[in-house]
Symmetry: C2
Subunit: 225 residues, 2 copies
């Protein structure tokens, strides 16, 4: 029997690639998409398309409305910053407080119910927006906490948080995904798409994605020439 | 200005007491109640009454439907165990996978938004049902993770998880609450109330509560003589 893994699937390029890497390692995928008051339903639609392409065993769309707390331009009416310098040390307003902690906690709840010992998250600490909850020290501390939080912590198999993209550049991630035959045309990365749904190409997420494709000299299927 | 604290408020006796202790220490209370597919709306109604009695600054009822994952008799149609031995080492079926991890993560999201450095949770590791996520080592690991998860982790004030009841017996908790003038008639503890809303007096939660009141020779206001 294949071991089960819960994968956090956002509809973006990173989580698609991380999930495909886990599938290649022999995991049976259980995909979890958070519906947390995103500005765009498009993100959830992309997650659905990606889950289908990955052939996941089950896909759960879980509502957790972080707008109740406010505090981020991604979950409020505040403008998304554009053309931001990628060398700034500042945490941008698109940061959603404690987002990955909440998402990993919910993945943990499902993993424990499934009897799964593995959780996969596509965080990246190189070409990223500087969010504290994408750093390797956070992922390590979460794993340690999770091992104490669950039945596993009182005698079961040790839980592992897989963050396979952690130390890869965006270009390396895209190359890996192309090797795995992934269709990045299914994904959605933009924080603030144009009215017709096309990526804005000016938010942090678009800028990082474009730089990754450019570095390996490949056309992004989402961008018209 | 009073420092803000986010308190997890279930409507039970423990979280009411923990919140009142934090208020006495000078915290401004922001109460968070999870609506997670409980069998009984009564629990949420009790949380509302308790929040009012405590004079909290704000009370958020947050929907997080853990029934999507299943795995507990508290969130499914499975029967709640009755008359269970209180010396068993087994984790009972009322355990909700990763519940406190999920609840504390959402409290963390709100705390970060508020700029609060303090979270209060009424977990107890003495007179409790043996859930792994009530143990002090779990609370400590969560705090460590939380400090790395947030803006605070990259330079802000260190986050503290307060679990003031951790090492108190149920009788000590009730005595402390009575000293603080709390009305335990507002609370709700039963996992599986009778059709008319009265506590069953046979589930783990009722048994622990009754033993606490009995130990100090006080009548539980919820129980008719």
């Amino acid at each position: 029997m294949m071991p089960k893994a819960v994968v956090l699937l956002s509809g973006g390029l990173d989580s698609y690639t991380a999930a495909a890497m886990a599938r290649q390692q022999g995991f049976e995928l259980h995909a979890l998409t958070m519906v947390y008051g995103q500005r765009h339903e498009r993100e959830v639609a992309a997650a659905r398309a990606v889950a289908r392409a990955l052939g996941v065993t089950r896909h759960v769309e879980f509502a957790v409305d972080l707008r109740a707390f406010g505090g981020s331009s991604l979950t409020s009416a505040d403008p998304v910053p554009k053309d931001r310098s990628q060398t700034s040390d500042e945490i941008p307003s698109t940061y959603v407080p404690a987002r990955n902690t909440v998402f990993l906690s919910l993945a943990l709840a499902w993993a424990e119910t499934l009897g799964a010992s593995d959780i996969v998250i596509g965080v990246n600490a190189i070409d990223y927006s500087g969010y504290p909850d994408c750093r390797p020290e956070f992922i390590g501390a979460f794993q340690q906490m999770a091992r104490l939080a669950t039945r596993a912590g009182v005698g079961g198999a040790a839980l592992t948080i897989h963050a396979p993209l952690q130390h890869m550049t965006k270009a390396q991630i895209i190359e890996r995904g192309r090797d795995l035959g992934l269709d990045y045309g299914l994904t959605h990365s933009c924080y603030d798409p144009l009215p017709d749904g096309r990526p804005c190409l000016r938010c942090d997420s678009c800028i990082l994605r474009a730089a990754g494709f450019a570095e390996i000299g490949v056309q992004d299927p989402l961008v018209q020439r």
